[in-house]
């Protein structure tokens, strides 16, 4: 990797550690911060209620939970906006445990978010420059997510390719109706996943 690329990776790694460290030193964590000050954490509700939208970057994220299965506390969904109004694509989701530590990245089938499906090759340029900026209490969370995307960019590229590779046999040579059925298959929600644990990732970098 070029020195500038390594410097960027180190800077992102530092942000990915420093943001949760500041929360922890204040007796909090990303799992609390992600709720944007809400008093209750309700299944399927978006935090914040209107999502965090970066108009300049055409990106968006929100946090929520829909299963009460330990160890996951909830997960962020990361999106990019398309060129048409209302068009959006899901890049990946990032789950946290109850201590606010990242657990795993995962991709989802189309029905889960109602996204405008695009093959990985079309999403990768957007992934590589994905960042979201916002003000207020969620600003550190936005910085952390942006840093995590840089830090795990290689894994996310593989994740999106794995998503497409898993669906490909079910889509190739099928009619439009059959393809639509695959994208709306409620038995298929998470398509690909990979660990997002910080300690082993940082260990790779400092080796």
């Amino acid at each position: 990797m070029a020195p500038s690329g390594m410097a960027s990776l180190h800077a992102s790694a530092q942000t990915a550690l420093a943001v949760p460290l500041r929360y922890a030193q204040a007796g909090s964590s990303l799992a609390y911060a992600a709720l944007a000050g809400a008093r209750t954490f309700e299944v399927l509700r978006h935090y914040p209620a209107r999502d965090v939208v970066d108009v300049a970057a055409s990106t968006r994220f929100y946090y929520h939970a829909h299963r009460l299965d330990e160890p996951e506390h909830g997960h962020f969904h990361l999106f990019v906006h398309g060129e048409q109004p209302g068009e959006f694509m899901h890049l990946a989701a990032l789950s946290l445990d109850v201590h606010g530590q990242p657990l795993r990245w995962f991709t989802t089938n189309r029905w889960v978010t109602g996204e405008h499906w695009r093959p990985a090759a079309q999403l990768l340029p957007r992934l590589r420059r994905w960042q979201v900026q916002t003000g207020g209490r969620l600003a550190p969370v936005a910085r952390w997510l942006s840093a995590m995307v840089v830090l795990y960019c290689d894994e996310l590229v593989q994740l999106l390719h794995a998503r497409d590779a898993r669906l490909s046999p079910r889509l190739q040579g099928r009619s439009h109706t059959e393809r639509e059925a695959v994208f709306e298959d409620r038995s298929l929600d998470v398509i690909s996943e990979c660990p997002a644990l910080l300690a082993p990732k940082i260990a790779q970098l400092v080796r």
Binding site: L21, Q25, R45, R60, A65, R67, E115
Partner: protein, 81 residues
């Protein structure tokens, strides 16, 4: 410089691990009851359900008024419009 950066990362990671261990775990999500209060239940959160009160389910209903498919699926993880 690379060695300095690596040392800083290692130190920050150690500090994070120690500090995080002292923070109370966050409460899990709960399903809202009919009265609006939140309760924890192992049954909550069917990801296939149409139950996101603030999400695309409403968006679908709005489209219905314009003639869109009234039986369209809910997307529990969709971004807000």
């Amino acid at each position: 410089m690379a060695k300095t950066a690596a040392n800083t990362l290692a130190q920050t990671l150690s500090a994070l691990m120690v500090a995080s261990a002292l923070v109370a775990p966050a409460a899990q999500a709960a399903t809202p009851t009919a009265s609006g209060a939140a309760v924890t239940t192992a049954q909550a959160g069917n990801p296939c359900g149409p139950s996101n009160p603030c999400g695309p389910a409403k968006k679908k209903k709005k489209k219905t008024a314009d003639g869109a498919n009234p039986c369209g699926p809910a997307n529990p993880c969709a971004p807000k419009k």
